[in-house]
């Protein structure tokens, strides 16, 4: 018997969507037939709708980011599985503004294909559509991996910033250009001390000894390329921060996301944030903004990720713009 609280493993995602739509009826509507969530509060100033989606199991991503100042629609697939192109197509038709719809897609083959098919269908219907591909995961930055870096924590920050940009009335090409620029300025690293519970077996998705850490995990419970011995938090965060700074070489302020992958506690996340802030201070990097909490998860994986986005004044201004969704508000 699986250890998830559910009626059946097939029912969990649709049941959760129903409950989500009920809890946030002021913010979203659910189309249960096509399986997408639509914002009820998107700004009238938008000329282009923002739509994202991907496998379930990463909540609050993406459903939690539908609402004013962020996404117009979200299409959740089954757990860790791409949404069907039909969901994306139907959600895009429902959300599209006068100048079309921008797809924010995390770089996974299934997601690329299904969003791509939806985009082809939209083109047949005459609905303008463009894509921003998020590929911020530093651990998959390797010549061996033909499919490219995975999309992870950066998605949250980029969806926020693009939401604010869409509210200012930018057009499709401008939003795509901004999103692509943001993706290039964003890198993430994740570690885990225990795997998520596999929905099918109720057992940990992979074994990991007490003294070991997976260094460079993704958000689907796949093992990392490196298993390393545990070390005190300051050393671990220093290693991650150094790698991120080396990859990004930020010249201006940075925005940080210290993200829980599911079962890690807020105590630990805030301790990570403290170490990160101390390290950035010491290196003279301006930690201008930060989010600490569970923003993009991998079911109940026991781990965390650190994302840095090299910002500038314009990006900070967009980041600071008001947002009101189930999971992000200011």
């Amino acid at each position: 018997m699986a250890s998830y609280f559910e009626n059946s493993s097939d029912a969990l995602v649709p049941d959760a969507l129903k409950g989500f739509a009920r809890a946030h009826a002021d913010l979203v509507t659910l189309d249960p037939e096509h399986g997408f969530l639509l914002s009820r509060t998107a700004a009238p100033s938008r000329r282009v709708a923002l739509l994202s989606g991907g496998g379930a199991g990463h909540e609050p991503l993406h459903a939690g980011y539908v609402g004013r100042g962020m996404l117009d629609a979200a299409c959740p697939g089954r757990v860790f599985a791409s949404p069907h192109n039909r969901q994306v197509y139907a959600g895009s038709l429902a959300a599209a503004r006068a100048e079309g719809v921008l797809h924010i897609v995390k770089n996974y083959t299934g997601d690329r294909i299904n969003f791509g098919i939806a985009a082809e269908r939209l083109a047949h219907r005459g609905v303008p559509c463009a894509r921003v591909l998020i590929d911020d995961d530093l651990a998959s930055d390797s010549a061996d991996i033909a499919s490219g870096r995975r999309g992870t924590g950066g998605t949250v920050l980029i969806e926020k910033i693009l939401g604010a940009a869409a509210d200012t009335g930018l057009g499709l090409a401008e939003l795509q250009e901004l999103g692509t620029r943001l993706a290039a300025r964003c890198r993430t690293l994740a570690v885990a001390s225990a795997a998520h519970t596999a929905p099918t077996t109720g057992e940990p998705a992979f074994p990991l000894a007490a003294g070991e850490l997976e260094y460079g995990v993704g958000i689907h419970g796949e093992r990392a390329q490196q298993t390393v011995p545990r070390e005190p938090l300051n050393g671990l965060v220093e290693r991650m921060t150094t790698a991120l700074l080396d990859a990004l070489a930020p010249e201006g302020p940075v925005i940080a996301l210290v993200n829980g992958l599911g079962a890690v506690t807020p105590l630990e996340l805030y301790a990570v944030h403290g170490e990160l802030a101390t390290l950035l201070d010491a290196r003279g990097t301006d930690l201008a903004r930060a989010l600490v909490g569970d923003y993009i998860t991998a079911l109940d994986m026991r781990g965390f990720s650190v994302t840095l986005l090299a910002a500038d004044e314009e990006i900070l201004r967009l980041y600071d713009a008001p947002v009101h969704t189930a999971a992000l508000r200011w």
């Binding site: 069907h84 192109n85 039909r86 197509y89 294909i113 299904n114 098919i117 082809e120």
Partner: protein, 220 residues
Amino acid sequence: MTTSTSHDATATDGWMRRFAESAHATETRLTSLDQQVGDGDFGTNLTAGADAALRRLDQLPGGDTDPAAPLEAAATAFLDEVGGTSGPLFGLLLQSLAAAVAGSGPTTVAYAEGVTDGLAAIRRVGDAAPGDKTLVDALTPAAEALRATPAGTPPDQALAAAADAAWEGVRSTARLRARMGRSSYLGERAEGIPDPGAVGVGLLFASAQGVVTDLDTHLG
């Protein structure tokens, strides 16, 4: 088997129905191919799409004379109701065919244009190139054959040429090592086995002439 010098709604409807029959007739064989180079669900995915297409064909208004309608119905069925990688890709191909037919009528030129557009869409979406051991390896020669057919050629004859070219492409995939999709993880172990998605493309074009029940003659 119908042969006519020009296609109409009856012809495109019959083509799609025969495609469904061909999928069912070869399902076991398709399953076993995908078991050898993939995850074994290609047969199920294709027949699921075929059945969904039949349901939609049956719902078209009787005496409908729009030759694009059966293609459009099949396209929507594959796009909306099939999971996996191949189903929606077949949907894209059928959608382009329907669009071309809706624009220029059910002519050889429209088929050539539709298949060319469909191939381009499939490549944009799936990022596979010829030689990657995917259905692109059957679709590329089929599109070339259609484009090479003179404009006045009856559509059935053009589609027969496309089928021949597609089967040739299918046979070529048996010699390839996969680079895209699931079978890419198998390396050498997939050599000698044709790509199931490519076989599906062969079935599609061949079904314009008649139902395919025996794959062996085509896989050679």
